[in-house]
């Protein structure tokens, strides 16, 4: 069975600085999708970024980018120029016709 691990329960970053959130996963599949979701205090899960495993190029979405290391089964999220609005829970997820979520990382952004 696939598993997703987020080893950082909480992270802090100074406004305008860069922070990296870690995620590792385990799967025997060769083709799959990985996601990062953001859950602000409003509670709704919002898609941040998606990575297709067959693509070697790391996905980027504005200030958000991933470091996808397929052999190491690692999928970290880098947030550049952090803003106060980035403060939220961040969940890493593996897609297997349903999401398998990690336990989440709470990101605090310090002014």
């Amino acid at each position: 069975a696939q598993t997703v691990t987020q080893s950082q329960p909480e992270m802090s970053v100074q406004e305008a600085e860069t922070v990296t959130l870690s995620c590792t996963y385990d799967t025997s599949e060769s083709d799959y999708y990985l996601f990062w979701y953001k859950q602000p205090p409003s509670r709704q899960m919002i898609l941040v970024i998606r990575q297709e495993a067959y693509k070697q190029q790391n996905a980027t979405e504005n200030r958000f980018s991933v470091n996808f290391q397929k052999a190491a089964k690692s999928f970290s999220l880098k947030i550049s120029d952090s803003q106060l609005g980035d403060a939220a829970m961040y969940f890493c997820a593996y897609w297997d016709y349903k999401y398998i979520f990690g336990t989440g990382t709470r990101l605090k952004v310090l002014a």
Binding site: Y33, F35, S42, K98, Y99
Partner: protein, 114 residues
């Protein structure tokens, strides 16, 4: 504006009571999901529902739970006899186009069982 609307946003119920949580997608889609998040814990898959049938369900989704889409629009999750441990946020989600796994979540329904 969320593409999936959930009601109620918060429900308080007594243990043993039946609860129905509702999900209304704005556009007409066939593939839906329910997830549960106990306070402070990870988001857990409950059930997926495709074309008016359960596609997959987790171990959490026991006989106390049921899902249906009675009128072709509302997608409901029913808990027949609530237990204290059913207290959680329940999220409905619909699948995006293309089958690439992107889900659009509702804002969640918070269930508190006393």
């Amino acid at each position: 504006e969320p593409e999936v609307t959930q009601t109620p946003s918060h429900q308080v119920t007594q243990m043993g009571q039946e609860v129905i949580l509702r999900c209304v997608p704005i556009s007409n889609h066939l593939y839906f999901y329910w997830y549960r998040q106990i306070l402070g814990q990870k988001v857990e898959f409950l059930v997926s529902f495709y074309n008016n049938e359960i596609s997959e369900k987790s171990e959490i989704f026991d006989d106390q739970f049921s899902v249906e889409r009675p009128d072709g629009s509302n997608f409901t999750l029913k808990i027949r006899s609530t237990k204290l441990e059913d207290s959680a946020m329940y999220f409905c989600a619909r699948q995006g186009a293309g089958g690439t796994g992107e889900l659009f979540f509702g804002e969640g329904s918070r269930l508190t069982v006393l």
